[in-house]
Symmetry: C2
Subunit: 450 residues, 2 copies
């Protein structure tokens, strides 16, 4: 491939609302073992793990996911850097921060910007594409990985390729980035050789900063300051909140790609899925003889061409075809696979029905309610405290976080594994003194009284 | 209505396997609030509560359901008698025992034998039918309540009516009881004025004992002895197990109805459903504007003519029609309503997949498993003990039963509301000293080590 090693920049921001109920704020799409039993974030790390080609990655994600990111890097034996965003500002500020961070060590180094929530199994094809893109990136081009369309899908932005880039085999000018088309337009795009915009691309740190400086100077300044004033947090480097908050919330496509003259495109010659909906996950999954993909505790009778998954409950289907049935996080989705792209509507509507009941101090969620047994998960927000009078006998077990629990005024410290017994009428105060949520499981003989 | 009050005999034996996953051994069909938010058992008690017409009922059911039966009677303010079967022997022995019990007080008293798992909303029509049946029952007839068929259903036994019973308005001889027919035969039965056999009937205690003596003497003898030697249990009178076990396991239809010359039929002029499958429950339930019946935490988008119910998880449906989606007891069913009668297959198959993992000492079941949090329900059988080495920090809360918990040899008594903290590597023994299961909820930070 020639030249120095490439630094992968892995963007962990994808929420995956169309993958409700599996994806959620605390465990979003990149960290879910959606296909082949591994998360796409772990798959992305593995794809760029060859130290002959790649430097350790720079991972950028939400500060709330620092532990998940660090755990996956640790499991992969990667000593990548972790940049934690104090708040979400879309891709342009994230990439600007990563570029500013990388430029401190190697201003001319190549960055390979990758989404953490895409599935690519053909690692050889991926590396071959990276090898084709690198020379153009070294001379200042922004080389976007364009996916040859498998179908006239309306859900992606498209890239119209221009003239071949002389001297760079397999790389072409970008004639235009175009918005998500309607069905007829998508068909024309496919016929005319357009690519899907995968959102993955390669460029040098210097090019990144120069173009963001040119087209989005406020983002560049905010990102530089946020990196400059970043502080070590438990699981990575926490970008300075005041500075990062000044960056407008804008995507890299809008901030730079659609304006720059340096954009080029390389045809991605590998299998690719953004696992954007349950239908995509179904397509990417192994099938049984009836064409079903099933995971977890499932029981399929007279079921065909369906995706059935569970993270706990036994899910039984009888006499269905072309359906998605997903039980996860204490919720269940039932929809035809053909309508999987509309699941975002469900996620939005479900937010109102929230599994967890929000309170001023955090939230609580009933995991099981039946005569004589009620299990509740209680999450107290950092620096907050909850107080209530017990209505039943209950045991509280701390499963995450640190703080104090006081019963009738007598306080004791608590940490994971600690338990407390409470009796009816006792007055309880739970205080979170830590940085993350303080999570308690209450197993009660009746209503808790919360 | 004339004459003495009628004693209802309520049979609580129905398991309702086609109502999987809602029905289960511990909480079977008669006790589930399936329609209108009340159980059919409670509805049956209420239907025969008028003290001007009815004596307190005799309820007969499984000994494991004594508490449920007593609670429902108590809630209704009924001082009915409860006969508890030490083992299930089908309807003939149950009715024989109830008749023997009733005959001790009033050998000529009328018994109204009712299933506890049927839905009847038209109480006036029900009472009018009872009033038509009573005179014939008083002169020694067994008057079966025949349901005028709403459709040529193949799932019921049918009754072919014979000549009108002279002097008894609305009552006819039974020409024949016929087995569940095929579709063509069912259509002919409906055209020819047959009735569905509801399994409900009226007769005197003396007639019941005489006919069972005549056609099933072993049942009569066993039932009499079981009542004779019955012992007071917590929630009722426990039939003597040795005696009751000698009764062959036979239905009253097979043991008596198909053989007796005394059978008569009265047309039941009221709404009736045996709630035999989710489709029947859907039909009996109130519908929204899109023709859906929904209960519990549900979210229906573009959903039509479907039954959606949940006892806890948020169940979201998108773009489905004519479906049953039921989340209950930690399991989920998805099937077209048209195939609801096949759900028995699911229940049978699910038994193999058992939600709970059976162990020598009882069972355990994972209620929630995600990174850093694992909730397990542990049920230790009466007089049994479980022992294991803890693999994570965990809190154990007792939610039912009594016994002792020993950690590293130091034992302490436990009862509902008690909690114990366990740390990795600690050795744990849980011993059940009570009569019922000892149920613990373990909230752990990782695998329990069970």
């Amino acid at each position: 491939m020639g030249g120095e090693r490439i630094t992968p920049v892995i963007l962990c921001g994808g929420a995956g609302t169309r993958l409700w109920p599996a994806s959620r704020d605390e465990l979003p799409k990149p960290f879910l073992p959606l296909v082949d039993g591994v998360s796409t974030f772990a798959g992305t790390i593995a794809r760029v793990a060859d130290p002959a080609l790649f430097a350790p990655p720079i991972v950028i994600g939400n500060r709330g996911h620092g532990r998940l990111i660090a755990a996956a890097l640790g499991e992969a034996g990667s000593d990548g850097a972790v940049l934690l965003e104090p708040l979400a500002r879309d891709t342009a500020p994230a990439i600007a921060a990563a570029a500013a961070y990388a430029a401190r060590e190697a201003p001319d180094g190549l960055l390979l910007v990758l989404a953490a929530d895409h599935l690519i199994r053909d690692v050889a094809g991926f590396r071959a594409t990276v090898a084709r893109a690198a020379p153009a990136a070294r001379v200042g081009r922004i080389v976007v990985f364009g996916i040859p369309p498998a179908a006239p899908v309306t859900g992606y932005g498209y890239i119209r390729p221009g003239a071949p880039l002389a001297g760079f085999d397999g790389v072409a000018e970008v004639a235009a980035f175009v918005e998500k088309p309607d069905a007829a337009t998508a068909a024309r795009y496919v016929a005319e050789g357009y690519f899907w915009n995968s959102g993955n691309f390669m460029l040098s740190a210097a090019t990144a900063l120069a173009e963001i400086d040119a087209f989005a100077p406020a983002i560049a300044a905010a990102a530089r300051a946020a990196v400059e004033d970043a502080e070590a947090a438990g699981d990575g480097l926490l970008l300075a909140a005041d500075a990062f908050a000044r960056a407008p919330k804008v995507s890299i496509d809008y901030a730079v790609m659609e304006k720059t003259k340096r954009a080029a495109v390389v045809a991605a010659r590998y299998d690719w899925s953004d696992l954007g909906a349950w239908s995509a996950i179904f397509e990417a999954s192994a099938k049984d003889g009836a064409g079903n993909a099933a995971g977890g505790r499932t029981l399929l009778l007279d079921t065909r061409a369906s995706y059935v998954a569970s993270d706990g409950p036994l899910v039984a289907t009888l006499g269905i075809t072309d359906m998605a049935v997903v039980a996860a996080n204490g919720a269940v989705l039932v929809a035809p696979l053909a309508r999987a792209s509309e699941v975002k509507r469900v996620a939005e509507a479900a937010a109102g029905h929230g599994r967890a009941v929000r309170a001023e101090w955090g939230s609580h969620e009933t995991l099981l309610a039946e005569p004589g047994q009620r299990i509740t998960r209680i999450a107290v927000a950092p620096k907050a405290h909850a107080a209530w009078r017990a209505a039943s006998h209950a045991g509280l077990t701390v499963v995450a976080g640190t703080g104090t629990i006081a019963i009738g005024g007598a306080a004791r410290p608590c940490e994971p594994g600690g338990v407390v017994a409470i009796a009816p009428e006792e007055f309880l105060t739970v205080e979170n003194s830590g940085e993350g949520p303080l999570v308690l499981i209450a197993a009660a003989t009746g209503p808790l009284g919360l």
